[in-house]
């Protein structure tokens, strides 16, 4: 941890110095903005604070050479664990040409038309440790990548190369316990952590997307050669030891959206090839895994009436050529409903999100409220509360105050 922090401090300092030095004598001054954020979350089930942190966040933009540098260093201090950290949350260099742009560095990419549910939006792996999230984007990790955008009229061909695979961040203990339960493995069985993939060319990831905005509809076509960002458990039948491995997960997909009067219709689909699943059929599959293709599809409707926005989505994930003992259901269905309204000249924003996982009969209510006290002070509060069903998460509420400068 100390080493990581040291590298982080050196990187951020070097980049800041680079901006300042390179900025000397150039006509357009750098854009610098800051944000101080205080975040408190409270676990209602354990009746205790789960997080209390302070974050100082800068955004720096500067024309350098033929392009533009963007840096977003972040300094955080968590009072619950008494630990601080410094990292470059996002930092890249943009090069603009006539019909071609290139972005090099740590960045976030969003694909698809789904809101808050994931179908083709798989470029950035999730970070599920931060909970409850204030912004949707907070649950993704930024990745080091080279991204080229080639413009064909109003259409766009995007090619992304991710040299180093980054895995999802989640609670390993809960994940392992859940798989052990589903596979009926003894509680004391040893599970080795997933091995990090070697940094070499054949382990890199590639993704391509063609997107178009048009007068009737917008669409995207996507193909990617990625890694599944969660490992699969493999059981050694001789030693009964469990090891975790990452596997490739190629996919093709697309999305579409169109507006008709007060309605916006959205659709998105992805076909994933050969995903590894754990299976309770050790006689046929001794290491407890099997490969199957997946089809995911989503349909969404947004409806605007007066000051209200209603947004309804349905997502289905189907495991093709299904076998009874696969630990995931053949069909996993999820529905979401969002009701949103702004008050006080858009300074007060309220929304109520419902998330329903049909197979697990798990229903969550996630109300959020955001108030711009002034152009410099924003206050956000929210609650994640399970109304029904067994759940992986505790009920929790948060309060976040932001000071912009």
């Amino acid at each position: 941890m100390f080493m990581k922090r040291k590298i982080g401090i050196i990187t951020v300092t070097a980049l800041l110095l680079l901006v300042l030095v390179a900025g000397q004598g150039l006509a357009r001054p750098a854009y610098v903005a800051g944000k101080l954020t205080n975040y408190i979350s409270y676990n209602l089930d354990e009746d205790s604070n789960s997080d209390l942190s302070l974050a100082l966040d800068f955004e720096i933009e500067k024309d350098i050479g033929p392009g533009e540098l963007y840096l977003n260093p972040l300094i955080t201090y968590n009072f619950e664990v008494d630990e601080g950290d410094i990292e470059l949350k996002e930092g890249y260099y943009d090069l603009y040409f006539n019909k071609f742009d290139l972005r090099l560095g740590k960045q976030r990419v969003t694909w698809g038309k789904a809101d808050g549910l994931i179908v083709t939006n798989l470029i950035n792996p999730p970070d599920l440790k931060h909970y409850p999230v204030v912004e949707y984007g907070d649950q993704f990790q930024n990745i080091n990548a080279a991204r080229a955008n080639i413009y064909l009229g109003a259409d766009n061909l995007e090619v992304i190369w991710i040299p180093e695979f980054k895995a999802a961040v989640f609670d390993q203990g809960i994940f392992s316990d859940s798989i052990k339960d589903k596979l009926n493995l003894p509680g004391n069985i040893k599970i080795n952590p997933a091995e990090k993939l070697e940094s070499k060319l054949e382990n890199s990831e590639v993704a391509v997307r063609y997107s178009s905005l048009g007068s009737k509809y917008d669409y995207e076509l996507a193909a990617a050669y990625l890694w599944d960002d969660r490992p699969t458990m493999h059981i050694n039948p001789a030693t009964m030891k469990v090891s975790q491995h990452y596997h490739r997960l190629p996919l093709v997909g697309g999305s579409i959206s169109t507006a008709r009067g007060p309605f916006v219709f959205r659709g998105e689909t992805a076909y994933m090839i050969g995903k590894y699943f754990n299976i309770r059929k050790f006689t046929e599959y001794p290491d407890g895994t099997v490969q199957r293709d997946i089809l995911k599809w989503l349909f969404g409707i947004d409806y605007t009436r007066g000051d209200y926005l209603y947004s309804l989505q349905f997502l289905q994930e189907a495991v093709l050529d299904y076998e009874e003992n696969i630990i995931q259901d053949e069909f996993s269905n999820t529905a979401t409903l969002l009701i949103k309204r702004d008050f006080l000249r858009s300074t007060l924003s309220t929304e109520l999100n419902f998330y329903y996982a049909l197979a697990q009969e798990e229903l969550w209510a996630k109300p959020r409220i955001s108030y711009d006290y002034s152009d410099r002070v924003n206050i956000k509060a929210g609650l994640d509360y399970a109304l029904e069903g067994g759940r992986m998460r505790d009920n929790a509420l948060f309060l976040q105050t932001e000071f912009l400068f």
Binding site: A33, Y96, D101, R108, V109, T110, K113, E135, Y136, G137, N149, Y151, G153, A154, N156, S211, L213, S215, D218, S257, T258, A259, G261, P262, F263, V264, D302, T304, D307, R345, S346, T347, D372, S374, D375, R376, N378, E402, L404
Partner: protein
């Protein structure tokens, strides 16, 4: 007086009363619709770039400032507009694009939200919503078209030293947010000097005043205006700067690329 002279004077008098004589336009010569047609069709160039500063002032005098850089261009049957939000800080990087059509098709609209890193199609049916918390709706800012109201010339009068036509416009749509508007249009300039907006109950809701206009590239342009919501005593002052017409922008400006990239 000779017979010929008498006939000429008589013809001129009749012509003036009937509104045939072309020298002077009187109330009888022109209808409310024709006046508003001239207002809507006033030349604005085929493209425009400008910086818009909105100052929102509440009844206690507290101010909030929003700044936008906007580009507009007509491409024959399609009029395209893109707006880049400059301030306040928490909306910086947001952009909004609108394509409107000469035929009766609904507009297409998209918004880019930097927090989501996504260009999102939105419904264009929200024309009655307030724009960025201001006292202006999207319609007030110019998205309305001539045929959406029935126009009637009420009278002619002088306002702030300018000779004006006073026009009442009643929306065709029954449950529209305004029951009527009354506009003071400067004669021969075809530009609004003042506009009153009445709510559904017929009570005065807002007053828009054109405080400063001048010519840019031969086109009359409103540089300073203020909308006062008399019911909530909230005001929005709009200041335009860096205005230029017939600029060299191509369709590439009105794309997903520019929405994401910004200025």
């Amino acid at each position: 007086m000779k017979l010929m002279q008498k006939l000429t004077i008589l013809f001129l008098l009749i012509s003036l009363l009937a509104g045939i004589y072309p020298g002077v336009i009187t109330a009888a010569d022109i209808t409310g619709r024709e006046i508003m047609e001239k207002v809507y069709n006033r030349t604005e160039g085929d493209s425009r770039q400008s910086r818009l500063k909105m100052v929102l002032i509440n009844k206690f005098g507290d101010e909030r400032i929003r700044e936008i850089e906007q580009y507009e261009k007509s491409f024959g049957q399609i009029e395209k507009k893109i707006m880049f939000f400059i301030s306040p800080q928490d909306v910086r990087g947001t952009s909004f694009m609108n394509w409107s059509y000469v035929d009766k098709r609904s507009d297409d609209q998209w918004i880019y939200l930097p927090a989501l890193r996504k260009v999102k199609r939105i419904s264009a049916e929200n024309r009655s919503d307030n724009f960025m918390g201001s006292d202006f709706t999207y319609d007030d800012l110019g998205d309305r078209n001539l045929n959406e109201d029935k126009h009637q010339l009420l009278r002619e009068e002088e306002l702030k030293g300018e000779e004006c036509y006073v026009i009442k416009s009643v929306p065709v749509e029954e449950d529209y947010i305004y029951s009527r508007t009354v506009t003071w249009v400067i004669k021969d300039k075809w530009i609004g000097l003042k506009k009153e907006f009445y709510d559904r109950e017929g009570k005065l809701l807002k007053v828009l005043e054109n405080k400063e206009y001048k010519e840019v590239d031969g086109i009359l342009t409103i540089f300073n205006s203020e909308m006062h919501n008399v019911q909530s005593d909230h005001r929005t002052r709009i200041q335009l700067s860096n205005v230029s017409y017939n600029i060299d922008v191509t369709e590439d400006m009105f794309t997903e690329r520019m929405m994401k990239r910004g200025l």
